[in-house]
Symmetry: C2
Subunit: 162 residues, 2 copies
């Protein structure tokens, strides 16, 4: 995984120290820890692990969008949408199916469904550069997708349970 | 691509010569021809191309389900579901989004959606052995998926257009 320097991590956190307490980032943290099969990240702080998701404008510009995306960025992308699905499940009490399709060039689609209802459908492009400028932007992006999905479930409750 | 012997092809066709006239196989044929970018299959008959989708019981037993699935079988699987989506579009007049996710071991999921409606959601397993015993079984399997999807659109017309 990309290992941001301590100063980078501290910078990302100092600016957004409340973000870590948002339900979305708490869930993301639990998910990342759960996926740490061999316990190699036990020594890392939550902030250091979440800092992997931070891509500043300057960093983004430096990432080429030709060639295959970094496997680590695909892992983070997949983890992000898995977290969105998990928080929707917590809110709605419904089981969410997650389908993420990606070609080797970094174009694809993610679809979250429950019953007969599409709760999220999103094209993915330039996933090489997947990341968020700050932790609070990461938390907000996740919360927005969860809110939209939850709203759709409220509009079509029968379809969601079909 | 797997190239069945002429006798295999003739056998598959003789037994099911009406299958080629079904709407599903006609569409599948058009799709396969459309995907023949370099015209290499122009010399092949429709029957010979569709015969690729035929896997007899004996053939199925001979295909190991360990190791990565053959890229050709993944191509056929993807083409089959693309054809299902295409026939649903013809029937309903709605645009279908197709998302097919597959891990390298041959497990995955296919989701077809339109608007907010899931018209088809299916787990995929043992795709190494993807195929149908006869052409008529291929045509029927496709037609069944199309019919189920069309029925769902009729039950939830607003969601399909949301």
């Amino acid at each position: 995984m990309r290992t941001p320097s301590d100063t980078q991590v501290i910078h990302a956190i100092n600016a957004n120290d409340t973000a870590l307490d948002t339900p979305f980032l708490k869930c993301l943290m639990r998910l990342i820890r759960a996926r740490d099969t061999y316990g190699t990240w036990e020594v890392k702080s939550d902030a250091a692990l979440l800092a992997e998701f931070i891509v500043t404008k300057a960093q983004r510009r430096a990432i080429p969008i030709i060639g295959d995306p970094d496997p680590d960025v695909l892992w983070r992308l997949e983890t992000f949408y898995a977290c969105v699905a998990l928080v929707i499940e917590e809110r709605s009490g419904l089981l969410i199916s997650s389908t993420l399709m990606m070609n080797h060039e970094g174009f694809g689609r993610v679809v979250l469904t429950t019953g007969r209802l599409v709760v999220l459908s999103k094209s993915l492009r330039d996933v090489h550069q997947f990341g968020f400028e700050t932790l609070i932007k990461l938390a907000k992006a996740g919360a927005k997708l969860v809110a939209d999905a939850t709203a759709a479930i409220e509009v079509y409750p029968d379809v969601a349970r079909a």
